[in-house]
């Protein structure tokens, strides 16, 4: 188990260096990053000074080492727009995203699990087809548009819910639904197909022969096993969640890291965007590591493969 964790950790570290390298070279691919970092009204003297302080006149491999060294010290540059260290900015916004994600996950699971399970159990019936239609529609609807549609219906027309920014519990409803539905279709399909597989296995037959009620067979014995593939793909869903958060927070002016990413893009705030990408990568890799370890803990077969 320890060896496994260490192995995963080293892998994660390697990937992180890879991400840092991609970010680093993307900035240099298209010219001097100093131009991306300077405000538009900067003088040539400013530019020369920035190039010197950032060490941009040195060879690339040296620059990369400096970049990594600075990153390890928690210095990923300063945001042009906010004139604050990008790392501090990221961590000041992170809590707002973390407040949005768990309810969204809950919404996604609360919709995907029953729909997936029931459409597998009642395969081929009207219910299954209805769930299929929901999945197909869910995969085709752009999330940013769904958010705007919800605002139009519930804020503009009905006037029931606030359309933007953080606040009381009512501010959470629309963003949570928007972000949650981002995952529902994929989750539902996955749960349905793995449920179908599990329903067909020997231990389910045994459970039935033992005389367990159908409810117990499905919700206790099958569902648990059907959720294992969901955990395997947790990394993929996490990546989707980050993407969804960028779009959702943009639509609802939610001051989290997704909105920060959007601001960095539209204001061409390169140092900020660079920092957000690297810190997002750290976050994603860390959560993946935790999931992998949890997974190995739950399912011992994983450790030995």
């Amino acid at each position: 188990m320890q060896r496994y964790i260490v192995q995963r950790f080293v892998q994660g570290l390697f990937l992180l260096v890879l991400v840092a390298a991609v970010v680093f070279f993307l900035g240099r691919l298209t010219g001097n990053p100093a131009d991306l970092m300077l405000p538009e009204d900067a003088t040539p003297e400013d530019r020369a000074a920035l190039i010197r302080t950032l060490g941009l006149d040195r060879p690339y491999h040296e620059q990369f080492l400096i970049f990594i060294a600075n990153a390890l010290r928690g210095d990923l540059g300063e945001s042009i727009r906010y004139r604050r260290p990008a790392v501090a900015l990221f961590f000041s916004r992170l809590p707002n995203t973390l407040k949005l994600v768990p309810p969204a996950m809950a919404v996604a699971l609360a919709m995907a699990i029953p729909l997936g399970v029931l459409s597998a159990v009642y395969r081929g019936t009207l219910l299954d087809r209805l769930a299929g239609v929901i999945a197909v529609l869910g995969l085709a609807t752009p999330n940013f548009w769904l958010g705007i549609l919800l605002i139009y219906i519930f804020s503009v027309q009905l006037g029931w819910l606030p359309s933007a920014r953080m606040g009381g519990i009512r501010h959470y409803i629309l963003p949570t639904i928007t972000l949650g539905t981002f995952l529902v279709a994929g989750l539902m399909r996955l749960i349905r197909s793995s449920m179908l597989e599990v329903l067909d296995s020997e231990f389910v037959k045994l459970a039935r022969i033992k005389g367990l009620s159908e409810t117990a067979v499905i919700w206790r014995h099958c569902l648990r096993n059907a959720l294992i593939p969901v955990l395997t793909l947790a990394g993929v869903f996490l990546a989707a969640l980050v993407t969804g958060a960028i779009v959702t927070e943009t639509v609802f002016a939610w001051p989290g890291i997704g909105r920060l990413t959007f601001e960095a893009v539209i204001f061409r705030d390169y140092p900020l965007l660079q920092a957000v990408v690297i810190l997002d990568a750290v976050l994603v890799l860390f959560i993946n590591l935790v999931v992998d370890v949890l997974y190995a803990y739950i399912d011992p077969r994983i450790r030995y493969t």
Partner: protein, 296 residues
């Protein structure tokens, strides 16, 4: 609700299950929507007298014709700059299709090559490439796409590269699986015995056999690409304004949602319809040509 369970009499999964979405006739509705989109994109300048870019401020914020104040001159209304929504939708279809075609060729092509290399060569190459694929799938690649837009500047080229970044890993993984199965077949062994080089085996013996899967993957991903393009444009990292793109149009109407819903909501409906049509068509094609790919 589950007190009376249904009698499970379906055949076991091992048998080829046609399922509720099994043998179906051609998906006519999808084909119609796709054909309409291609038609509108090709003949955009003939279909509408307006320019997609020129502003006409006296005519700004006209509602669609069925609402009070709307005229048939601007059937779907106008935006904040007085540009006709219908015209911009037509020209936006061009952008979507163009980006989709280019990105599928580039991203799908890269995925195809990597999948064949990984599957055929196996060993270290395979495990390294698949690590990268796993990493790409578990990493929000949209971040790299946004980064690209900021460093390279907005434009068609950036957009195609950005969307390709999202695509290649999905292709590579499926193609590799196919190649692994092909590799154990006798004709590959015979080709090796015959003295074919690795390159020749990959190009002449493997490639034609995965083309079928490749085409299915292409069809299944048109919708993904259109959605990705729209999302990037919405986030200000796609086609630069004033060029019309559906995602950009949704973004432009966002601030006017309370007074002029049509600017934002109509392009969104177009996106949903088209993606839906391409997805359903892709599903149909997959079930028809290669049902074992159903889990995609």
């Amino acid at each position: 609700m589950l007190k009376t369970p249904p009698q499970r009499v379906e055949p076991p999964l091992a048998r080829q299950e046609p399922g509720p979405r099994g043998r179906r006739s051609l998906p006519w509705t999808s084909l119609f929507i796709i054909a309409a989109m291609v038609f509108v994109a090709l003949f955009a300048p003939l279909l509408t007298p307006h320019s997609p870019i020129d502003q006409s401020l006296p005519n700004k914020l006209r509602p669609p014709f069925w609402q009070e104040g709307g005229t048939l001159t601007y059937p779907l209304g106008t935006d904040t700059f007085g540009r006709d929504i219908f015209t911009r939708l037509c020209y936006g279809a061009r952008v979507s299709l163009l980006v989709a075609a280019c990105a599928l060729l580039v991203g799908g092509g890269v995925g195809l090559v990597i999948g064949i290399l990984a599957g055929y060569l196996g060993g270290r190459v395979d495990s390294l490439l698949m690590r990268l694929v796993d990493a790409a799938l578990a990493f929000p690649t949209i971040l790299f796409a946004l980064l690209l837009a900021v460093t390279m500047g907005q434009g068609l080229r950036t957009l195609v590269i950005a969307v390709s970044l999202i695509l290649w890993a999905r292709f590579a993984r499926v193609i590799r699986g196919e190649v692994l199965a092909l590799k154990t077949r006798d004709f590959i062994a015979l080709a090796t015995v015959h003295g074919c080089s690795h390159l020749r085996i990959m190009a002449v013996h493997i490639l034609p056999n995965v083309l079928n899967t490749f085409v299915i993957l292409l069809t299944l991903h048109v919708g993904v690409v259109i959605l990705a393009e729209a999302s990037l444009s919405f986030l200000g990292a796609g086609i630069p304004p004033p060029m019309p793109s559906w995602g950009l149009m949704v973004a432009e109407g966002r601030g006017k949602i309370a007074s002029a819903w049509w600017i934002s909501l109509l392009p969104g409906i177009a996106i949903t319809l088209v993606v839906l049509a391409f997805n359903l068509f892709g599903d149909w094609l997959r079930d028809r040509l290669d049902p074992k790919l159903r889990q995609l």
